[in-house]
């Protein structure tokens, strides 16, 4: 599994696709919110793994966000098995939000 700052080209593409997934509550994409921890692309096994978290345990749209990630990645990589795993450790903190994400939160709505 590659941490998101150590991704190869294909995994970076996958991350770009995941960037189309917004958190419906704040209208900021979940990559810039720092919710994606790891992405792995395995050509041989035709498998893509995403490890992610949510900003709050009780997030009412949590599994819709996970579903969204799985659908967009599966659509772009037909024939691949896409697995999206939700983890609570390490716990998400606001420090994980990117500069772009912060800018959107400050003035996005």
């Amino acid at each position: 599994m590659a941490k998101i700052d150590q991704l190869n080209e294909t995994e970076q593409d996958i991350l770009e696709i995941i960037k189309t997934v917004p958190d419906p509550e704040v209208s900021v994409n979940i990559v810039d919110l720092g919710l994606i921890y790891e992405v792995a692309h395995n050509e041989e096994d035709k498998q893509i793994n995403v490890i992610m978290t949510l900003s709050a345990r009780g997030c009412p749209v949590g599994d819709t966000i996970l579903q969204h990630v799985q659908t967009v990645v599966s659509n772009m990589y037909p024939g691949y098995y896409v697995d999206v795993d939700l983890v609570w450790e390490p716990q998400w903190t606001p420090a994980l939000i990117t500069d772009d994400g912060r800018a959107q939160l400050d003035g996005g709505f």
């Binding site: 080209e9 770009e16 209208s27 900003s55 345990r57 009780g58 009412p60 579903q67």
Partner: protein, 443 residues
């Protein structure tokens, strides 16, 4: 997908949504009734019409929406499925039927064991009992024993006590001599509404503000102070403990509320979302109005030391700033943070990633929301000034503003409830084309 996610635990929207529709209609009704009760409101709170408006607001508007919202929020806060959806639906129907009976009975008959009052009161008690069973049944399933959960569980006990005491007053008015009316009001307001609001708001506000690392000890202390204060207050009814005990109870409750206020102030200060949407603007306004409630509450608890006329006005402002101020503003705001998500999940849950969908924030009219934000502030200010000056014209003007608030709010509620699915083709980023790696064959 993993367990513990609340969408999977969420109840059917058909259980939750009717509560919002009923609440919006009750809010409009209360504003119209307030117009015709303006003369009474300018005098005292113990009049038939004031009690009628109060019960439409408290039961038809606030309690109805709280019930509905809580059925949606129990899975969020407790991370379990709701104990019974059928019970929730039955509770909605009985509460919905009971409120008009009670309102009518107060309006025409004041306090008395009329058929309408007994019918309405019994329906409301039945509704509350079903709600209590549902909440406690859900709480017993949860492994998530947070302080927020404890507030919710405690609130339903106080709710039960409130309605039982309320109906007892109607059936046995002689218990009024023991201060039962004031206790009914206080355990209803502090024990039910506030206890619940502290529990739910302490979960939701930091989540919506995106604020982390808050001081939960404040909530822990608030829990014991509020419940302790209420127990002391309740005991003054059974044991003649005098005014000092009531002041002591008031002080405990006040410190508890200050703890709750500080917790949310901490969330506000640490928030990452600097620009607030309409839902959060109204919620922040609610907390500002809550400060007025606290001041009026302190003055009211020293009632025996101050002039009777002054005390009547303070008591009215205390009740108005809490029900028509803090709680109403919070409900107006939190509607925008809950209802669009419920409808959005229902319509778009299985469409995300396949189509471009609107966001929950796109489902209401922003102009209507901004409009009722200002009408509400105007209506509230006119009401407080009107009560203070005992000027029924100002109260009628306030009722007009509140009616406009209620109409615009209802417009947005029904706009969200009747939102039709809007799907557009999804535009995805282009993936770079790379040469297919050459596979070396083993010799």
């Amino acid at each position: 997908m993993q367990a513990g996610l609340s969408t999977k635990n969420a109840p059917s929207p058909s259980v939750v949504l009717p509560h919002y529709a009923y609440g919006a209609v009750a809010f409009i009704t209360a504003a119209i009734m307030m117009f015709f009760a303006a003369e009474d409101i300018s005098t005292t709170y113990m009049t038939p019409k004031v009690l009628s408006v109060a019960h439409v607001l408290i039961l038809g508007w606030v309690t109805m929406i709280i019930f509905g919202a809580l059925y949606q929020l129990i899975p969020v806060v407790m991370e379990v499925k709701l104990y019974s959806e059928k019970l929730a639906m039955a509770s909605f129907i009985t509460l919905g039927l009971g409120v008009p009976f009670i309102a009518y009975s107060f309006w025409v008959d004041f306090i008395g064991a009329s058929h309408a009052m007994i019918t309405g009161g019994s329906l409301v008690i039945l509704s509350v009992l079903m709600f209590v069973v549902n909440t406690l049944g859900s709480a017993m399933k949860t492994e998530n024993k947070t302080i927020e959960n404890r507030f919710i569980v405690a609130s339903v006990f106080w709710l039960l006590l409130t309605v039982v005491l309320g109906l007892s007053i109607v059936l046995f008015p002689q218990i009024l001599a023991y201060g039962s009316f004031q206790i009914h009001i206080h355990i209803g307001i502090i024990g039910w509404f506030m206890m619940l609001i502290v529990g739910v708001a302490s979960t939701l506000m930091p989540m919506f503000f995106i604020a982390h690392q808050l001081n939960k000890k404040l909530l822990e202390m608030a829990f014991w102070l509020l419940n302790g204060g209420l127990l002391v207050l309740l005991s003054t009814m059974f044991f003649d403990l005098g005014n000092y005990a009531k002041m002591g109870a008031g002080t405990l409750v006040l410190i508890g509320f200050i703890m709750f206020f500080s917790y949310n102030l901490g969330a506000y200060k640490k928030r990452l979302r600097r620009n607030l949407d309409i839902g959060m603007k109204l919620s922040v306004l609610a907390f500002i109005l809550f400060a007025l409630t606290l001041v009026a509450g302190v003055l009211s608890s020293f009632g025996s030391l101050i002039d009777g006329d002054f005390l009547t006005r303070i008591n009215l402002i205390y009740g108005i700033s809490l029900i028509y101020g803090f709680i109403t503003a919070l409900i107006l705001g939190q509607m925008y943070k809950t209802l669009p998500f419920i409808v959005w999940l229902k319509l778009y849950q299985d469409k995300v990633g396949k189509f471009k969908t609107p966001l929950p924030a796109d489902m209401h009219s922003e102009e209507a929301a901004q409009g009722h934000y200002f009408f509400f502030i105007g209506g509230f200010m006119l009401l407080v000034i009107g009560v203070w000056l005992k000027e029924s014209m100002l109260i009628k003007a306030s009722a007009g503003f509140m009616l406009l608030t209620a109409i615009l709010y209802a417009y947005n509620t029904f706009k969200i409830l009747m939102h039709k699915q809007q799907l557009k083709p999804l535009v995805m980023p282009k993936i770079r084309k790379r040469p297919v790696p050459v596979v070396k064959k083993d010799k």
